[in-house]
Symmetry: C2
Subunit: 230 residues, 2 copies
């Protein structure tokens, strides 16, 4: 089987990508980042999702002590109930986050002999982060091709972002077919024990489920140890 | 003054770059990586060099537990007294090291409002690492221009690699003019208390000093607390 590194956050998109890669015949190894995010509850969710999918999971701890993001610094308020405008980059932007995550993924992939990295980035129903756009991934792919031993040896490690041009509703429909356990995923940025329902990430998720006409199983299912939010 | 992030390892090249950036009117902030390297003695050297240069210094701790490098895994032997062949990539290559370091540097630079990153990479007297070559830096620059908020806002964070096309002897001559305290720098990979004189990095350094006709002050000067190696 073809090895692949999956950047898994425990959210809806990356969990869908994990199941997608598995369905495509890849043997996934998940890479999860504890980067000081306020919603660190996602770490446990990511580990649980990897376990349910039967895939190994590594948690990498990094710190970005320079902050400059509402996800890292609780003194910066999260935008609430504000329509997401992808032309604006919100305060939840973390400088170079995907650049850092992909760099570690490339190191890990090269070390284990994987030729694929999967990332759940999306440039349609998204928060406007520049490192989620196709032009960024194309450029970063070039950097890997030139900066990695495997690239120089023509054994390219390829970045796959299969959700890049899908709407959130399309992602959810695809994930449901793949039996992604959405009740275990976590999207909320707020850092509370229940989804706040008002941050960018909750809004995008809610709109996605509304468009499918389905209920978000996270909000209706009781997960052991996690009170439901109804 | 123009802020700049300097990737400082405590070695000869990056220390020269720190002094070069300062002389060019930049206000340097040093970024040093504890990445599990066997020669962690370089961390103290880097901090001391930054202090002597009067520049702030941050040490970032990361781990690459997948190893796959003689610098990370002591079970992989270091090549000794072997002429460096830049067409071969040696076992001291760390997968994606400069990619990771530059990613953090970009995050830090964007957070503090710096528009410059300096790296002491060299593609002449070097070990053949692909992420030290001009084509890699060009590609990574494109990735930053497309993936960072500052890039999208046309406030490019530029990567400077002023040593890229210099010989080691040229670097040393330049550094001596800039009064780089070479007696405090550390190049050896071995992880001992004295330079081994036989690893890639020691060989490149020695050849550089030989070409200048000067003695390496690290090998003749007694640094407090560090026995000299003569």
């Amino acid at each position: 089987m073809k090895k692949a590194v999956i950047l898994l956050s425990g959210g809806l998109d990356s969990s869908t990508v994990l199941y997608y890669a598995r369905a495509r015949g890849f043997q996934p190894s998940c890479l999860v980042f504890d980067y000081g995010q306020r919603h660190r509850v996602e770490l446990k969710r990511a580990a649980a999702i990897a376990r349910q999918a039967g895939c190994p999971c590594r948690i990498v701890t990094i710190r970005l002590p320079w902050g400059a993001s509402a996800l890292l610094d609780k003194r910066i308020g999260l935008p609430k109930r504000k329509a997401v405008d992808p032309r604006e980059i919100p305060v939840t932007y973390v400088p170079a986050r995907n650049i850092i995550f992909l760099s570690f993924a490339a190191s890990f992939a090269e070390a284990i002999g994987a030729r694929a990295i999967f990332i759940g980035a999306n440039a349609i129903d998204y928060s406007g982060y520049p490192d989620c756009r196709p032009e960024f991934f194309r450029a970063f792919q070039q950097a890997l091709d030139r900066g990695l031993r495997s690239g120089v040896q023509k054994k390219t490690i390829k970045i796959y972002a299969p959700l890049l041009r899908k709407t959130k509703a399309q992602i959810i429909r695809m994930g449901l077919k793949l039996k992604v356990p959405y009740q275990r995923t976590w999207s909320c940025y707020s850092g509370g024990r229940r989804p706040c329902g008002a941050c960018d990430s909750c809004l995008l998720r809610r709109r996605g489920f509304e468009e499918t006409g389905l209920k978000d199983p996270l909000l209706v299912t009781r997960t052991p140890g996690h009170p439901s939010h109804v």
